[in-house]
């Protein structure tokens, strides 16, 4: 056995020079290996770019100006997605409609995730009475179906983007709190948390640095899936006329307006439908890929 006193002089076995990657690079590397996830990311990036650059692609006026002479035209060279029953260019409406879905989806998920993490980790980490009070309240919110909840919020406050946001945030918070709480409960019982306590780590630091990173998988998956659900919910609300007010374009309201002519002019519903499917699918694929690549144990 080697004495440890002269460990400095001991020949250190140097491993063959593998490239040391930073954490973000390592995650990106693992993410890239998942072809489907990369496809999802590309898809969503394209949709994002389109929605950001919408004004440069097509004028907003083209999306709302009615032109009865060209109503209900199938896709052609002039109108590549055709026109709707008021003669508005579907291509312009799809592109400008992406703004609402993505904007409301992103912001509402961001805010409800932040609130949910705070609520869930407080409940899970401290337990006892605090946990009971918070989680019973969350259960009450959870008992109301998300769409119903959103409908009632919008019905009470009136339609519009701001109220749509509030409705989406209020209805997603309980889901995030639940998932964060349960991950925290299972992780905070593990020995490394006790070891961190034995090093004098503060509660906040333990939760923020030791517990949440271990729970990031389920949280990220929940966030991306929830964003997909939110996009569908926005479409649903607009479909029943509680989302975006006409004539502003929105995928769900386009579906709704097109449903009367669906039989003879299927492009009215197929095209916004495909747009929704692509955005939601992209998000789901990214969520899946992120879950795998965020866990360093699954490396290689």
């Amino acid at each position: 056995m080697t004495s440890v006193d002269n460990v400095e002089n001991m020949p250190i076995k140097v491993r063959p020079a593998t490239k040391k990657r930073s954490q973000i690079k390592a995650i990106a590397f693992r993410f890239k290996k998942n072809k489907l996830a990369v496809f999802g990311l590309v898809l969503l990036t394209v949709i994002f770019m389109i929605s950001i650059l919408a004004d440069f692609v097509v004028d907003f006026d083209t999306a709302i100006n009615q032109n009865m002479q060209v109503r209900l035209q199938p896709p052609s060279r002039e109108h590549i997605f055709g026109t709707d029953q008021y003669g508005r260019d579907m291509f312009a409406r799809i592109i400008h409609g992406s703004r609402v879905s993505l904007f409301v989806g992103l912001i509402s998920i961001g805010i409800s995730l932040a609130i949910g993490v705070v609520i869930g980790s407080t409940a899970g980490f401290y337990g006892g009475r605090i946990d009971n009070v918070i989680m019973r309240f969350m259960d009450v919110l959870l008992a109301i179906p998300q769409t119903l909840m959103a409908i009632s919020v919008v019905a009470a406050l009136g339609p519009g983007i701001r109220n749509l946001l509030i409705a989406m945030i209020v209805s997603s918070i309980p889901r995030f709190s639940r998932i964060v709480r349960s991950s925290i409960l299972s992780i905070s019982g593990q020995e490394f948390v006790e070891a961190a306590k034995a090093c004098g780590t503060s509660d906040f630091r333990i939760v923020a640095r030791h517990i949440i990173p271990n729970a990031i998988g389920p949280i990220v998956v929940q966030a991306t899936l929830n964003m997909a659900a939110t996009i569908i919910a926005i479409a649903g609300l607009s479909f029943i006329g509680l989302g975006i007010e006409p004539p502003n374009p929105e995928w769900g309201s386009m579906l709704s307006e097109g449903k009367a002519q669906m039989r003879y002019y299927p492009h009215l519903v197929v095209i916004p439908g495909i747009a929704i499917v692509l955005a939601v699918m992209g998000l789901n694929l990214i969520g899946d890929g992120l879950r795998d690549s965020l866990d360093p144990r699954l490396k290689n």
């Binding site: 080697t2 076995k13 006790e194 034995a198 090093c199 004098g200 630091r205 640095r209 990173p213 360093p296």
Partner: protein, 322 residues
């Protein structure tokens, strides 16, 4: 005269559950001097870990509580200390090494980050200095510093335990509580890790409480040994007293008797007959008396007192008249 780092006097710890109250530690007295290694030996459930956790004030919330006694750690009264005070001494003045290296490291942080964290909490220094210290401490436990960007799952069990030791010693604490640090490792790695702990300890002049049930480890590592049974110290003395003095508590004799002798051919091991007393009931007399082969009439009625022979002291009625 070396300074006393840790003084525990008459400590009583109880766990209260819905079904019963468990008397885990009953009147524990320990003193640890600067730079000294005290071995805490006893069978499972003797209250060794409970004693260590009460020093850190990390007993399970709501159920575990210190009922009586005092703990003085480097001049600080642990019983009265608030959570803020405790936080600033944990990892800084007193560190703990847990039994299982597999689960004591956070799987999603690199080992370098985990060592850095203790330093960042307790030392007010620049990032570069702390990072240099991380390298230094890794070198000290025999891990090439370039591996600090690796994750725990890329290390073997022995290496992980080295990392844990590095975390525990990063701030050069005055007292190290090692709760069976080598139980989860195989024998050759055990020897390496113990050797390393020994040399680091003497280099940093850290006192250590080594919890174990391995008498070989005790003989190798410790200056003094305390034998624990049912939450109290039944015998304490220098290593030589425990291993060479003919006078022993019957429990200690039983412990030694249960170690198989390489030179003798026996068909069976010699365990101590019986089981640990039910920790939910307090025995009236000596807690070992139901299992004791040398039991006297008085044993089941009166609690024995400490009887000292210099440094060596035994809690048993047998030695009362000597």
């Amino acid at each position: 005269m070396p300074e006393k780092i840790l003084t525990i006097k008459d400590l009583y710890v109880e766990y209260e559950t819905d079904e019963a109250t468990v008397y885990a530690v009953n009147g524990l007295d320990i003193e640890v001097e600067e730079g000294e290694t005290l071995g805490l030996v006893g069978e499972t459930g003797a209250g060794k870990t409970t004693a260590a956790l009460s020093i850190m004030k990390l007993l399970p919330e709501k159920i575990g509580s210190i009922k009586k006694g005092s703990i003085n750690l480097d001049g600080l009264d642990i019983i009265k200390a608030g959570e803020g005070d405790m936080r600033s001494i944990r990892g800084n003045v007193v560190s703990m090494i847990f039994q299982d290296p597999m689960t004591s490291l956070n799987p999603v942080l690199t080992v370098g980050d985990q060592i850095y964290e203790v330093l960042a909490i307790h030392k007010n220094d620049s990032r570069e200095k702390l990072n240099a210290r991380v390298d230094e401490i890794l070198q000290l436990v025999g891990i090439p510093p370039k591996r600090k960007t690796d994750y725990p799952h890329q290390f073997s069990g022995g290496m992980k335990q080295r990392v844990i030791i590095a975390i525990a010693l990063a701030c050069e604490p005055k007292l190290l509580l090692a709760d069976e640090p080598t139980t989860a490792l195989d024998v050759t790695i055990q020897a390496q890790v113990l050797e390393m702990m020994k040399s680091l300890k003497s280099r940093l002049n850290t006192a250590m409480v080594l919890i174990t049930h391995d008498m070989g480890v005790v003989a190798e590592m410790c200056d003094r040994v305390a034998i624990m049974y049912a939450g109290e110290i039944v015998e304490i003395g220098m290593v030589e007293d425990i291993f060479e003095d003919p006078k022993h508590h019957p429990y200690t004799e039983g412990l030694f008797g249960s170690i198989p002798d390489l030179n003798k051919k026996t068909k069976r091991l010699n365990p101590i007959p019986g089981l640990m007393p039910d920790p939910t009931e307090i025995a009236k007399g000596c807690s070992f008396s139901p299992r004791c082969p040398k039991r006297l009439d008085i044993c089941s009625l009166v609690q024995p007192e400490n009887i000292s022979f210099g440094n060596h002291s035994i809690k048993c009625h047998l030695f009362k008249n000597n």
